[in-house]
Subunit: 268 residues, 2 copies
Amino acid sequence: MRIIKKSKEINSLFNSFKKTGFVPTMGSLHKGHEYLIKKSVKENNVTFVSIFVNPKQFNNKMDLKKYPKNLKEDVKICRKCKVNYLFLPSFKEVYSWKVQSKKKTPKIKNIMEHKYRKGHFKGVIKVIEKLSNIIPASKMYLGEKDFQQIKVITDYFNINKVKTKIVKCKTVRDKNGLALSSRNKLLKKENLKKAVNIVNFIKKIKLKNIHSNLKINIIRNYLKKNDVKFDYVQNINLKQFNISKNRTINTRIFFAFYLGTVRLIDNL
Amino acid sequence: MRIIKKSKEINSLFNSFKKTGFVPTMGSLHKGHEYLIKKSVKENNVTFVSIFVNPKQFNNKMDLKKYPKNLKEDVKICRKCKVNYLFLPSFKEVYSWKVQSKKKTPKIKNIMEHKYRKGHFKGVIKVIEKLSNIIPASKMYLGEKDFQQIKVITDYFNINKVKTKIVKCKTVRDKNGLALSSRNKLLKKENLKKAVNIVNFIKKIKLKNIHSNLKINIIRNYLKKNDVKFDYVQNINLKQFNISKNRTINTRIFFAFYLGTVRLIDNL
């Protein structure tokens, strides 16, 4: 029992009761997920993590089939990070959940992932609609590697007045600069090295004091020269969220490329 | 960490996060308070108890001055009952708290406590306005001995759209049938016996199959004959909350009487 003499203390207590954090994942947890989870545990008094490989967001059946799974290790990581509730639903559990009131779908610009992974965000919105309703947390933690996904979910929450706040978290990278991703586990050693080289090349070009169009061309040529298939390399204005032809401060280079059958995305 | 596979379980979890109970008291806790506290602890996941002798609700200075205090024992009882937070504010702490938006005052019928304790409910409303704002619990637990007080606070909450629900709790009595009250501690042994006799007499008359007006007259005459000063003995319709001249099912006999300088109230 805690004895309180100051009203203000009670006020902050009531605020803390409401603090629930939610980290939705597809499992195969890495240090990037750990970062999100630890941030949530720190900022809230209850943290939920969900592990659910959402088939509806995979445009490619093989990609879904080979998506890495490691539940035993995932549970260990969640326990270590002091997660309060780990949600491991079945497909039926998620999709049979009835969301009250019809939700609006945000308009998504036909660039990047939306252009190259047909139906991907439709699937993302579907699962987020269900999960955010099942777990109506105060905050949802998402990683900036999937930047366009954050944009789509934020828009969805805004137009549907979902009260959960989105906490954008920085991309966690390995010591070589490669963004952590569950799909990295699928890379052969030589391709892992290649991925690191690509990201570091783009980082180097990004820092050059030249026109952004020129940067994009240099990167595309580098990928072509090295026989690396890519969906896009684009300079994106983060405010308007469209392709930026001019150098501005608020831009990032977004890219998606293939090494073997593994598709990686990142932004710098 | 708890692993959950069913969405419904999470739903009930979120409901439980919001469950906060509040038992406002003036201290000198007895088994009646304990009943309220235990009910709150059982029904909520966090229970607040406040101990604050509100001078503004005392119309009689002597009554305030001699109001029993027993903080050490109160803390023990709260600990025993597994209270989570015990709020022990100073006068300044309560009355300097700024309640946002002006609150409406409910109309109170000029009967019983409102008639005989001038300004009492004005003081009750003032302290409840502050306390319910400092501790915006989901439920507030109040005892039916102070029946009119429950009515006033319920009306106040309704017209001001205070979200806290009021849980009316039965009056706890000692083995002789006397309603527990902090003021009982101020009674001399002979008066305690007298109080028990009065309550049992009223109980006996209440059960008789005679017109309610006749019951009231019999009780008043009994009190007069025994030299017991009283403010009122009245048959009150609980639905309309007014003096009922006819026998109906939904009535109680409300009474306030004095033994020495101690004023006791009850309803049967």
